[in-house]
C-alpha cells in the first residue's frame, strides 16, 4: 500500500543553498536532497563541473518530500518570494506516493 505525498523541487544558485535549506526546515520538512546541476534559464547559462573561478555560481536542485501538498506549496511560494527576485531559480511541485513505513 502506498500513500499520496508531495514533492517540491527547487533549482537555484548554489550560493544560497544554506539559506534555502533553512526555509525548508522552517516548514517542518523531515529532510531534503541536493544535487549539483547545470542549466540554462532566463538569466543565462550556469555551468557545473568546469573550473568556475567564481565559485558558488553553479546551480543546485533541492528536492523535498512532504506529507501534504499544502506544505510543498508553502515551501515553493516562500522560496520563490524570498529569493527569486534577486537570485535565479525556479520551483515546481510533483505528486508522489510513499510507502506506509515512512513518515514525512
Amino acid at each position: 500500500m502506498t500513500f499520496k505525498a508531495a514533492k517540491v523541487v527547487i533549482i537555484t544558485e548554489k550560493v544560497i543553498l544554506e539559506q534555502v535549506a533553512q526555509v525548508i526546515e522552517t516548514f517542518g520538512a523531515t529532510g531534503y536532497t541536493v544535487f549539483a546541476a547545470a542549466g540554462k534559464g532566463s538569466r543565462g547559462v550556469r555551468s557545473a563541473g568546469r573550473a568556475a573561478v567564481v565559485d558558488g555560481f553553479s546551480n543546485v536542485q533541492i528536492e523535498v518530500i512532504t506529507a501534504t501538498h499544502e506544505t510543498a506549496e508553502k515551501i515553493a511560494v516562500e522560496v520563490a518570494e524570498q529569493f527569486f527576485n534577486n537570485y535565479s531559480g525556479i520551483t515546481y511541485l510533483e505528486d508522489v506516493e510513499i510507502l506506509r513505513s515512512h513518515k514525512f
Binding site: 544558485e13 550560493v15 544560497i16 543565462g44 563541473g49 568546469r50 573550473a51 568556475a52 573561478v53 567564481v54 565559485d55 558558488g56 555560481f57 529569493f83 527576485n85 534577486n86 537570485y87
Partner: protein, 328 residues
Amino acid sequence: MSRFLVQFQSPALAFLVGGMLLAAFRSKLEIPDAIYQFCVFMLLMRIGLEGGLEIRDAELADMILPAFIALIVGCGIVLIGCVVLAYLPGVKTEDAIATAGLFGAVSASTLAAAMLMLEEQAITYEAWVPALYPFMDIPALIVAIVLANVYLAKKKHGPTAKTKIWPIVTNSLRGSALSALLLGLALGLFTNPEVVFESFYDPLFRGLLSVLMLIMGMEAYARLNELRKVAHWYAVYAAVAPLVHGLIAFGLGYIAHVFTGFSPGGVILLAVMAGSSSDISGPPTLRAAIPSANPAAYIGSSTSVGTPIAIAVGIPLYVALAEAVFGL
C-alpha cells in the same frame, strides 16, 4: 622600458592570454573544478606560510605603516568607486557599490603573478608584504557591504536602519581564500613548516599559478558576454580603475619608502594589490551580502576586464615606474 616588453612574454601573462585565446576559439579543454580549487589553496597557503615564517623574524614596527596604507587604500577605493560609478549613466546604485567593493578587494592570483615577476626581475621585497592582503581585502568588502545595506535600508525603511559589521567580518574571514591565507600565516608563525614549504608549497607555486592563469583567461573570455549585457560604462571603469588604484597605492607606498624604508618591491606589491580585483572569495561574499546587485555587472567587470588589465598592464607599469623612481 625593455623590461616592460619582456614581461609580455612572462609565463603568467602568457598563460592568461592563452586561456583567453582557447576560449575565443571555443576549445573544449576544461580544467576540472577540483584542480582549480586545489591551485587556489596551494597558492594561498604558499603566500601565507612564507608570510608567517617572515613575520616571525620581522620588526613588527616596520609593518604598521604599510598595513595602515593597505587598509586606507582598500576603503578608499570603494568610496571613490561608488562616487564615480554613481555618476555614470545606466548604473544602478547597488551594482555600483558591489563593483567598487570587488575592485577594492584583492586578487590572490594577480598578487602571485606579481610575486613571480619580481622574482624573475630580481627585485626584492619584505617577505611579509603579501601577508598585507587581508588588511586591504576585508575592509574593502566590509565598506561595500555596509554601504549597500545602508543604501537599501534607507530606500526601504527610511534612514534609521543599522547594519551589523561583525557578521560581515567573520563571514569574510571564513571564505575559502582568507581561510587558507590565514591558516598558512598561523602555521608559518607558530609551527615549523619550513621543510614542507620548501619541498612542496614553494616549488609548485610557479607551475600551479600558470594553470590558474590559464583558467582565469578562459573565465575572463567567458564572462565578456555577461558584461556586454550591462551598461558599457562598467567596461570603461574596469579598464581604468585598476591602474588608478595601483598608482594611488604606489604613491602612498612611496611615502612609506621615504619615511620607513619600505622596499621598492614592497611598494610594487602594494600597488598590485590595490590594482587587483577579487576573483575568488569576493564574488560569492558580495552575492550573498548584496543580493540585489547584478553579478553580471560586477563579476563581468572584474574578471573579464579588471584582472587582465591589472596583470597585463598594471604589473609591468608599476615595475617600470619603480625602475624610474627608485633607479632599480
